[in-house]
Symmetry: C2
Subunit: 200 residues, 2 copies
Amino acid sequence: MTPHPQRRRRGDDRREQIIDEALKTFADNGYRSASIAEIAERCGLSQPGLLHYFPNKAALLSAVLDYRDRLDYTRLGFDQDLRGTALLERLIQLVEHNMHVPGLVRLFTVVTSEAVTADHPAHEWVVDRYRNLQAHFVKALEAGIADGEFRSDIDTRAIARQIVAMMDGLQLQWLLDPEGVDMGALFREFIEELSAHIAR
Amino acid sequence: MTPHPQRRRRGDDRREQIIDEALKTFADNGYRSASIAEIAERCGLSQPGLLHYFPNKAALLSAVLDYRDRLDYTRLGFDQDLRGTALLERLIQLVEHNMHVPGLVRLFTVVTSEAVTADHPAHEWVVDRYRNLQAHFVKALEAGIADGEFRSDIDTRAIARQIVAMMDGLQLQWLLDPEGVDMGALFREFIEELSAHIAR
């Protein structure tokens, strides 16, 4: 039970520590103005020491985004092929969960917005992520039609985009005013209205 | 009709040129990684030459954001006290208009997201902007109730937040995929559903 702060961490632990500190740094400053030197210092490493694990800042950003993705994709039910209302209910839970992890939400908001410029190292990752989200949501909505939960004349592609937009937009308002904006309640209301509207 | 590129610009023209180049630079790189040196170079000025007009990068960002605001607030009808559906129709026009000014939209998206961190020089500006938008939208929705356009039991505060969130979220998707995302059509559909739902 005695901590051993001086003991040399094994490689995997060290990688995890670096990803964790990089995540905080990118979330605070954005990718572009974050520095490898600062992240190394937070980890108690020299710059060459950190570069042994990740050869450059872009590689580090990829590792951070993959980490965030693995967490979220599981929560989004990508591994479970959620159908119709089961996905909508999962999304409400996800937004409520996100209110407990502001650092991760801030990272995602800051980096996604930086990445609208084509020369950003996360540009392709972000474009792919939105493409995957869109495909996943459309599939779940179509499953809802097939199961007879939703009307067959709904525009699944438009609804998928609007759901993602509402999640992103509420996140931004919540980050700017965490006390004043209950993004969980606002998103739940939106989904409830939507569900009533598209129900068969 | 002969251009005089070498002629010394008057102060106001020069200020406008600097704001214009700063806007492009912030939109491309974000505020944090944009440099005064780069903006000065784009304007054909020395750094001290630029600093004569704006004492530092934060002052320049303020000027850029005020400029964008003056454009948008007029388009949003802040000066006209639009009521109920008149505001909703104005918003549809604004989103369609925004599809013609991707540089301005990118600036706003990048800087707003950077500014979720408290030490960002635009943090207070962004927080105030969302507070003003929220107040303006709530007022217009309440006017719609008073005029008998909308039901009296609607949650004007929640609806105002959801409208802003949908605008912001669709902007992000559109910036990431301008060919694939018709944010004007998606927003119009959202407002039409909403209008049908809240109509008296």
